[in-house]
């Protein structure tokens, strides 16, 4: 089915892809007014330049499509790194009433709990440069990356898999792959309590059994960098991000296990949509009423897959520390601190004030990062006065950012912010652009070493394939839904 545009549709400002009308609210916000069968309006965060990109694909239509879903509360929200996704746009946030609302696997995405983890290494960039090649080669050797990456040293049997699915990063720490201090700095302590391993299929288990501790492919990576600039030195110090400090970014998720969970439950929800008479503008938005058997099954499986992802990033952290110990020493490795770990593909049940009263709602964040404000009880005590760290990786050639959540963001976006640069070029086009070039040599000339399983991966991920993450971050900070703490610059990358 395709969305039915209302009769009085006006063209978007550029008169392009979407049949839905868009209105400017201010310099950083755009409204998609209720049109046709939309149950609420859309709210897009973007400046003029980013809006041009947004209007170039189906993203606005997807924002409007999400607004058709039953029980949506508040607007259908899109962050400035929004781009075309499956059903929900990537960069989308939508909250649903527990009574009358729905849960949709398409609102979480295939890579359940795809997320980012940042480590702070007690070394200055000048200490690392002389041994950087050795460090990145060690990381490349110890963290399987690329298509079909798997570990030969860890294969989960059914019992261990159930433990991982139930306990997430806690499973890893209990086996010596990290510390209690790590857990304190992971969203939800690295373990979501509603996980139901029985809701994870044999197929999903088979796909994930040897993938714990692997990078994966596509835009996933492990990146060594340093703090290039601190915008709030006090906050940066608390986070362990004083200027010059070396950092390690980890971007990965639940690998094949999460993809299979999504597939399995999309199948079930195709039927649920018919059973519950839910009218959808796009099949990929299939969903089930919260509290229904289909929703409960997905909820249990999604939380289990999210725990798998937390365990994956915890295992990767262990291997990063091992690499640091090998290249530097055990003291440096032991003092390598987890700054924060946060999901950007997930659904959570959270209390938020809607229409003047506090309600528990199911917040879907797909390519959007939770960004809780100062004082929120879910934050680690050390960070509570600051707000939640929001980790925003950019492309491999430029820079990344660390932000903090704000009270305004909590009120306006259900405590959410952007998640990255956002792709602006197809993989195919990027490959064509990169074909006559030697991209690793270009990056090396700019001080960034790259290791990857294949040339294709590097070519597809050239910096030009992404929006400038600074533009994305500027929008969320000007709009007041997050604030900047530090800018990080890459010096070596293992690409997935």
């Amino acid at each position: 089915m395709s969305p039915t545009p209302p009769d009085n549709t006006l063209p978007t400002p550029a008169g392009r892809a979407s049949p839905y009308r868009v209105e400017r609210i201010d310099d950083w916000r755009w409204r998609v007014p209720r049109q046709g069968k939309m149950r609420t309006e859309g709210l897009i965060f973007a400046d003029d330049a980013l809006m041009e990109d947004v209007l170039g694909d189906e993203a606005v239509t997807q924002v409007a499509n999400v607004a058709h879903l039953p029980g949506i509360v508040g607007p259908s929200i899109a962050m400035p790194d929004i781009h075309w996704g499956y059903g929900f746009p990537i960069g989308g946030v939508a909250a649903f009433d527990l009574d009358g609302g729905v849960i949709s696997p398409g609102g979480v995405g295939y890579d359940i709990n795809c997320g980012v983890r940042l480590l702070s290494v007690p070394l200055g960039v000048g200490d690392v440069r002389p041994r950087l090649a050795r460090l990145i080669d060690t990381l490349f050797a110890s963290l399987p990356s690329g298509v079909g990456s798997a570990r030969s040293d860890l294969r989960l049997d059914d019992r261990a898999m159930n433990d991982v699915l139930r306990r997430g990063a806690r499973w890893a720490v209990a086996r010596g792959f990290g510390t209690e201090a790590d857990l304190a700095c992971i969203e939800a302590g690295g373990c979501l309590p509603d996980a139901d391993p029985a809701a994870v299929s044999k197929k999903a288990r088979a796909r994930g059994r040897d993938q714990l501790g692997t990078v994966g492919s596509g835009n996933h990576f492990v990146e060594v960098g340093y703090v290039a600039e601190a915008y709030d030195e006090v906050a940066a110090d608390v986070l362990g991000l004083a200027p010059g400090t070396v950092t390690v970014f980890i971007h990965s998720g639940s690998r094949g296990l999460g993809h299979q969970v999504c597939d399995d439950h999309l199948d079930r929800m195709q039927d649920a949509v018919k059973r519950y008479g839910i009218e959808l503008p796009d099949k990929q938005l299939c969903c089930a009423p919260l509290g229904s058997p289909e929703a409960d099954a997905y909820w249990g499986a999604m939380n289990a897959a999210a725990n798998f992802a937390f365990a994956n990033r915890q295992l990767m952290t262990h291997h990063v520390r091992q690499a640091i110990a090998g290249v530097f020493d055990d003291t440096v490795a032991g003092a390598t601190r987890l700054v924060y770990d946060v999901a950007h593909n997930i659904a959570k049940i959270e209390p938020h004030v809607v229409d003047g009263r506090e309600r528990r709602v199911c917040v879907h964040r797909k390519g959007a990062t939770r960004a809780f404000p100062p004082g929120h009880p879910e934050l680690p005590e050390r960070y509570r006065p600051l707000g939640q760290p929001v980790l925003i990786p950019g492309d491999m050639g430029r820079y990344s950012y660390v932000l903090l959540g704000t009270a305004r963001g909590f009120d306006e976006t259900f405590g959410s912010s952007c998640h990255g640069a956002g792709r602006r070029m197809s993989r195919g086009k990027a490959k064509v652009l990169a074909r006559p070039r030697n991209v690793p040599a270009e990056l090396a000339a700019h001080g960034v070493l790259v290791r990857a399983a294949s040339r294709a991966t590097v070519d597809e991920e050239i910096p030009e394939a992404y929006k400038d993450v600074r533009e994305v971050v500027d929008v969320v900070t000007h709009a007041g839904i997050a604030r900047k703490v530090a800018q990080l610059k890459p010096i070596a990358v293992v690409k997935g």
């Binding site: 499956y86 295939y110 597939d263 099949k283």
Partner: protein, 151 residues
């Protein structure tokens, strides 16, 4: 854009018997869109095998030395086809199985081999076959299918 006339050969290495189907791969923002056509259902399934193989390893030869059984799932023809394609990518994800040819009309026997790093270089890793904009059009003169793959 890659447009190919699908082919299916007894040994899976030298195309010599056209299926009559075609597939076209088109770039999508971060992913891949595919259009498949075929004059009849058996040709559509043969074309699907060639399409999946092409996405994963391009035009590199794949030998039909192992088999995998694929059971039909789903009530309607569009759903059965969708799940068949998805299963082919799953088989690759599970143990590197590359499809070369298919026999049967549900259940199917898929012939192929496991990826051999010495002979095969991966072109794309498909994380999922999406239902977004999935089109399965059965016309009197044949089939027209559109799929979007999540890479």
């Amino acid at each position: 854009m890659i447009t190919s006339t699908s082919a299916d050969s007894p040994d899976g290495t030298t195309p010599d018997r056209p299926t009559g189907g075609t597939f076209t791969l088109l770039a999508h923002t971060a992913d891949l869109r595919a259009v498949l056509t075929a004059p009849d259902r058996p040709a559509l399934y043969r074309t699907a095998v060639d399409f999946v193989r092409a996405v994963i390893v391009g035009d590199q030869a794949v030998r039909p030395v192992e088999t995998r059984a694929v059971e039909p799932e789903g009530d309607a023809p569009d759903e059965r086809f969708f799940r068949f394609v998805r299963e082919l990518f799953y088989l690759f994800d599970l143990d590197g199985f590359l499809p070369a040819a298919v026999e049967g009309d549900g259940p199917w026997t898929v012939r192929g081999e496991r990826l051999d790093a010495a002979r095969h270089a991966w072109e794309h890793h498909v994380k999922a076959v999406t239902r977004h904009a999935y089109l399965f059009d059965a016309r009197p003169d044949g089939y027209h299918v559109e799929l979007v793959l999540d890479l």
